[in-house]
């Protein structure tokens, strides 16, 4: 029943997906100040590289005695993981839902390393995620051509266009219709998710896409969905589809 309803949505949304494709897409990078852009361009200045450093160490280190490190199976991430982050979120047959890169890392950690999964947005998880995302820097976002993801993207797009919260605003109202204009003095970006996990100056830390989405949801005074819920998965799947072809900037810097 649920699936059928979603399939109906796919048909309804087909037109708007095509419309989004025609929009000249502009990375949030271009709306930043030259100083912040310089931070992202230069790995020596980008604080996210501190997490990447940790991620590289975690990749090479066995989490417990007798357990293989990530590198034990996958080898050198700089070669083996090139382009992997560009393909997430991907559909996971076992969980019957899309999983993002962090979900995939945790899955591997549970199944192959027999370790407890990290809680969402754990520092180690972010570190490993940023290290893997770095290996896809410059490659185009390439969401998988998987029919099972289609209803999720449609649901994500529906959430993107749905008015929520006390301010009664949808994501699309700012990031599609009013992108390039200003909100309280700050330029409104188009809301592309091609740089996550990223270092946000406001957080003074590295954060995930879900954290950023949560910020926006509470910003319009709506109650955010619980961590790991289907809504976040659907929104992430939709954003990856919306950004397809854009170069990955991870780990990016944003104001």
């Amino acid at each position: 029943m649920r699936t059928r309803a979603w399939q109906g949505l796919v048909l309804a949304c087909g037109v708007s997906v095509a419309a989004a494709q025609d929009l000249p897409r502009r990375s949030g990078f271009e709306d930043m100040s030259p100083q912040t852009q310089a931070m992202q361009r230069d790995d020596g200045q980008n604080p996210a590289m501190l997490w990447v450093q940790d991620g590289a160490a975690l990749w090479a280190r066995a989490p417990a005695a007798g357990v293989s490190a990530c590198a034990g199976c996958h080898g050198d991430a700089r070669e083996a993981m090139r382009g992997v982050a560009a393909r997430y979120p991907a559909f996971d047959a076992a969980q019957r839902r899309p999983v993002d890169l962090a979900g995939r890392i945790n899955h591997c950690r549970e199944r192959r390393q027999s370790q407890p999964p990290w809680p969402p947005e754990h520092e180690d998880l972010l570190a490993l995620e940023s290290y893997l995302a770095l290996q896809s820097r410059g490659l185009p976002v390439a969401p998988p051509d998987d029919a099972r993801l289609v209803p999720w993207r449609a649901r994500g797009e529906m959430l993107w266009r749905e008015r929520i919260g006390q301010l009664n605003l949808s994501c699309a109202q700012c990031h599609d219709e009013r992108a390039g204009r200003r909100l309280a003095g700050s330029p409104i970006p188009q809301g592309h998710a091609n740089g996550y996990p990223l270092y946000r100056l406001e957080w003074q830390a590295l954060g995930s896409l879900q954290r950023r989405l949560r910020n926006c949801v509470t910003g319009v005074r709506a109650a955010p969905w619980p961590a790991g819920s289907d809504e976040w998965a659907a929104l992430s799947a939709w954003l990856a589809w919306r950004d397809r072809g854009m170069p990955i900037e991870a780990p990016a810097v944003r104001p």
């Binding site: 020596g44 501190l50 100056l201 003074q204």
Partner: protein
Amino acid sequence: MARTLITAPASAKRGDVIELRTLIAHPMETGFRPGADGLLLPRNLVTRFSCRYNGELVFSAELFAAVAANPYLAFTTVATESGSLSFSWEGDHGFAQTETVTLTVT
């Protein structure tokens, strides 16, 4: 140990001006912000940074509450002789860290 990121040339010609850039992971808690419980979070700052070139102080800085987390400092010095460059950060609660890189001058 806090994570650091140091960008320094491995070699330079004698007399060259070299740029040294450092980044350290540190919360730089100001001591003015309340936490979730309403109480002030204790101050936790890096208060002093210094760089020594073969033991000689070539650059130092005092840092205060207005400096952002993960402070980044970039400065220059003149390459005079081969040796080591040591970077030290000192801060509240006995925070102290030193990182050393080697420089070859030709």
